[in-house]
Amino acid sequence: MAQEDTNVIDQPEVLRHKMVTIEISGKKYEVPEGITVIKALWHTGQEVVRGAGCLGGFCGACATYYRTKDDPKVRTCLACQMAVEDGMSFTIMPPFPARKALYDIQSLKDPKQDLFNLYPEAPLCRNCNACTEACPQKIDVREGVWKAVFGDFKSVSEMFMDCVMCGMCTPVCIADIAPNLVALYVSRAQGAHFTEKPQGLDIRIKEIQEGRYHDEWKKVLGMNEQELADHCATVK
């Protein structure tokens, strides 16, 4: 390849393929070092249907408990975003039967008060901090629950923008709160009820409805191929 001949800056190719021993749901396997947890499952011949989604760290389908060698601490990760290492032990978590409240976000009269009807367990947080420690997205979940209860919806919506809804904060809660669902409600309420309406957007919608662009459309859509190409070229 031309690349090999002319490339003066490249370093030589070195392929490593060191194997490490890991434990998947309590069973030992050898897999190449550094592959992701989800790839380790495929490598060991396991079919994955539940437990994989976007494979990009956004969907929360592959929330996993893991522990590394000689570390007593059990941690959480997203299986598509975590590299395996020697002595690592992990299990992908099945979905947890959390209760999601049902609501019509637009017709809420007093969203900050409604929180206590929809999620009456929310104010029962006992500050154990397990939810925060369980969050693979490093959100201060406990703080978020308290802010929700105290009505600081804006902060909650900002803190939980990283939330992938994996739900790992829920099984650890001793007060049976589902913090991610509480935060989702709070964020939607913040967007629908406590955020300023963008004036410019309404103006644009009205302009379109009133046919403000009618003449311009007529001109553009009436052009032949060449005229249109020339016209596009003038748009900078």
């Binding site: 690349q3 389908a61 809804m165 379109i208 459309w217």
Partner: protein
């Protein structure tokens, strides 16, 4: 040399590069570059489809095999339906959720079926934003012209006009549902400039735009109690005596049983094809992006459009190994991030269209100005620390928290070190041909979102996909729901499948594969040695 040593040139040349402006290519140079380096022009990767609605049209070999593939369904299958509904939506991403919500809101009975969970899709990963012309200096017409230019003038004008004009009302709908778009100080929507666009037009939720929209839409689907069939993969459509669509057959992936659904209309919102790994490319796509909707509609007689063109996103991660193919958002380039070769030089206007930028990266690497990783992959630098240098410390962390975290997990601080990138298979530009209501040439069969074709021409502009999903999801949902009021449920037959099989036989039988693929075959088949010590 390790990756850190190779990075030094990016730091050393930063100040000099900041003074440079790189002009965009002239139309002639741009065409020449694309023809020489863009994967769409590698003739050996393509072959004609042998039969069906697009017989003799060329597409990539991976897709041709699936389109000619056989169904898993025997013709004597008992077609007694387990479910009967007005509107059957297949797919739980952005287009599917939008279709289901709008159909439900107009009073139709709706079932949403998806082969993974509700929301598992590419939509959830969209980081760059959503193009909607809301800024005073912008207009739907300008949005139209930018998109047309980006699509090499091949876009369907009618579809495109519909999309740009309905954009602002979509933004309003999402805001009312509680989507938190970034705002200016005066409360108006903040807009960013995207590659190939002449005006700032990207609405964003930091770099979580798709995730934020999908969190809200998923929640709304649940709140509206729309019936869900999760982990149910569509494996065949059903047709009535007139060849019109009348339902679908699913395989329940939990128990392998068939599920028959009778529906007055079917909306396929099944997404793209990244997991086919066309031409061996890594992909930014989700686990289920296997082009199922294309195969299902093709067997039913639906025409495909622009099925020979795919989008290779310029910036897929090349390092670390775990992130290969994962997307590095275009937002970095929108905010001024440079692309830098191994010599420390810029080589393209970073805000040119995706096909141009991808082609130029491939050119740099093929001509030996790429950077090679320890595992043998090649790429070029994306100068992320430049953003902090340009707009002040903390900029990268504030504007790109998702990406910061993604790399932080592997010990890389992208606000201090540049990122190595190479094009990754990102989007199917074409798809099933639709009209302005998102319907195919097969009556009562709708296709919405990435699975459809025509809107984006031969190259989709950044930020137009999220809008496409919302607009055509909505239109398909509303049309299907309105029609349900006055129509009878059609008979359930496999006549179309008989026809397809007969035609396949005439052309020397099918390609030998069963389609749709449902999930990529990543599981290693040979037994793995269990450690005994």
């Amino acid at each position: 040399m390790d990756i850190h040593a190779l990075q030094q040139i990016v730091h050393q040349t930063r100040d000099a590069r900041r003074k440079q402006t790189i002009p965009k290519f002239s139309p002639a140079d741009r065409d020449q570059l694309i023809h020489k380096y863009h994967p769409d022009y590698r003739a050996t990767a393509y072959r004609p489809i042998r039969f069906g609605p697009n017989a003799n049209d060329k597409t990539v070999v991976e897709l041709a095999a699936l389109l000619e593939g056989d169904s898993s369904i025997p013709e004597n299958l008992d077609l007694t339906p387990q479910y009967t509904t007005d509107v059957l939506v297949v797919g739980g991403g952005g287009a599917g959720c939008a279709a289901a919500l709008h159909a439900h809101a107009s009073g139709a009975r709706v079932i949403l079926a998806t082969k993974l969970r509700l929301g598992d899709s590419n939509s959830v990963m969209a980081q760059g934003g959503m193009q909607i012309s809301v800024a005073p200096e912008d207009s739907p017409v300008t949005h139209f012209l930018d998109t047309l230019k980006g699509g090499h003038m091949q876009n369907d004008h009618e579809l495109l006009k519909v999309m740009v004009e309905e954009g602002p009302s979509i933004a309003k709908w999402l805001i009312e549902l509680g989507v938190l778009f970034d705002r200016q100080a005066d409360g108006n929507l903040h807009v960013k400039k995207g590659g190939g666009s002449s005006k700032p037009r990207l609405l964003t939720c930091s770099d979580y735009t798709g995730l934020e929209i999908m969190r809200v839409l998923k929640d709304e689907v649940l709140n509206q109690k729309i019936q869900l069939l999760e982990f149910c993969a569509a494996v065949e459509l059903l047709s009535d005596d007139n060849g019109q669509c009348s339902g679908a057959i699913f395989k329940d992936l939990d128990n392998q049983r068939h599920v028959i659904v009778a529906a007055k209309s079917v909306i396929l919102a099944t997404g793209g094809i990244g997991r086919l790994h066309i031409q061996g490319f890594p992909t930014s796509n989700h686990y289920g992006a296997t082009g199922d909707g294309l195969c299902l509609s093709y067997r039913m007689g639906a025409q495909l459009d622009h099925i020979d063109t795919f989008q290779y996103h310029p910036s897929g991660a090349v390092y670390p190994e775990q992130l290969i193919g994962a997307l590095v958002t275009e937002g970095i380039r929108s905010e001024g991030g440079h692309l830098v070769n191994a010599k420390g030089e810029r080589f393209v206007n970073e805000l040119d269209t995706r096909d141009v930028v991808s082609s130029s990266i491939i050119r740099e690497c093929e001509e030996g100005r790429g950077i090679r990783t320890m595992s043998g992959r090649v790429g070029v630098w994306l100068d992320t620390p430049l953003l902090d240098a340009e707009h002040g410390p903390g900029t990268v962390e504030k504007h790109f928290p998702a990406m910061m975290m993604q790399f932080e997990r592997f010990g890389i601080d992208i606000s201090k070190d540049p990122v190595l990138i190479y094009p990754t298979l990102h989007y199917q530009n074409g798809g099933v041909k639709i009209d302005a209501n998102s319907e195919t040439n097969v009556k009562n069969l709708f296709v919405a979102g990435e699975a459809s074709g025509g809107l984006h021409g031969r190259n989709r502009l950044m930020g137009n996909s999220l809008l496409d999903l919302m607009v055509f999801g909505k239109r398909s949902g509303l049309t299907a729901a309105a029609r349900a009021v006055s129509m009878q449920q059609g008979k359930l037959t496999l006549n179309h499948l008989q026809r397809f099989r007969a035609e396949a036989k005439k052309h020397g039988s099918s390609s030998g594969v069963i389609s749709p693929m449902i999930l990529p075959a990543y599981t290693r088949k040979e037994p793995e040695r269990t450690v005994t010590t």
